[in-house]
């Protein structure tokens, strides 16, 4: 049984590869659990020019079956891998202040909710120019821009000490793998 982890371009130092023209499929011969799958995909991030993660559980009886399944989609895979070249995914999570500030009137409540939302929009507006794409607090960022992106998040965090904030990455571009 062959387990499929990802499609990649420009792989270096990876043993289990099935070459499909310019695209290569990274595979494993042993079954792994979902966490093992995730770690295998993450290990590719620094060793390939472009990584297109495949969802957990895609498997084929043999190499010929894998080729048969992938070949009709090869042009599409190449296009998507080209789009993701040199990019990684970065996630930002923000938790609002836990203690609700005492508000007296409904209008105050709505204003406070509005400020919380405006703060989050402000963060997103500042990060957008540093990202190629974004979706729901996940950002597709050029590898060379990661440090600048993190510095912007850091600046925002310093301006908002009341928020709990975590920024993680660089991840394989899971969110941007489809479409």
């Amino acid at each position: 049984m062959i387990h499929l982890y990802a499609f990649v371009l420009g792989a270096e130092g990876i043993e289990e590869l099935v070459r499909l023209g310019r695209v290569e499929a990274v595979v494993g011969r042993e079954a792994v659990d979902a966490v093992g799958h995730g770690l295998a995909v993450e290990s590719l991030v620094g060793r390939c020019r472009s990584v297109l993660p495949v969802r957990f559980g895609e498997r084929f009886p043999d190499e010929a079956a894998l080729r048969r399944a992938v070949e009709p989609r090869l042009a599409e895979l190449e296009r998507r891998l080209d789009e993701l070249t040199g990019c990684v995914e970065i996630g930002v999570r923000v938790a609002p202040p836990e203690e609700r500030t005492a508000v007296e009137t409904g209008t105050d409540y709505m204003r406070a909710a509005g400020r919380r939302q405006a703060d989050l929009r402000d963060l997103d507006r500042r990060l957008q120019p540093r990202a190629r794409k974004s979706a729901d607090a996940r950002y597709l960022v050029a590898r060379t821009e990661v440090a600048g992106f993190a510095a912007e998040v850091e600046r925002y965090a310093r301006e908002h000490p009341e928020l709990a904030l975590v920024c993680t990455g660089p991840w394989a571009p899971y969110t941007f793998a489809a479409a």
């Binding site: 620094g46 938790a95 709505m110 990455g169 991840w171």
Partner: protein, 116 residues
């Protein structure tokens, strides 16, 4: 194999609030509705309150959007704010009653991700 410890770029504020759901990622089962009679009530409460919380957030966002667009007058804003405030208070009471925390109302749908 890359280490996951290296994935933290920026961390700020009270991280315990973010850390708890992260710690529970490998712990999917307690987040399902259990058929055990001792816990089924709490499990159902968690499910129902999660849906109410989701609706509350959606309605609140909708109200904020209308506020931004200027299609609500002062009385309407006050009335909506009061409604959301009371709903939030009632949710806090119900959460306390069933021993649930805010994090518990964000069901982990496994591969589908978090609900909210």
């Amino acid at each position: 194999m890359s280490s996951l410890d290296e994935k933290l770029l920026v961390a700020s504020g009270d991280l315990a609030r973010l850390e708890r759901p992260v710690r529970e990622i490998g712990d999917v089962f307690p987040r399902r509705v259990s058929a055990d009679p001792e816990t089924v009530e709490r499990g159902l409460a968690q499910l129902v309150l999660t849906l109410v919380e989701l609706l509350r957030q959606l309605m609140e966002r909708q109200a904020l959007r209308r506020m931004d667009e200027g299609t609500l007058d002062d009385d309407e804003i006050e009335r909506l704010g009061r409604t959301f405030m009371k709903l939030a208070e009632r949710m806090d009471e119900l959460k306390a009653e069933f021993g649930l925390r805010d994090d518990d109302l964000n069901l982990d749908l496994g591969p589908l991700g978090k609900l909210m």
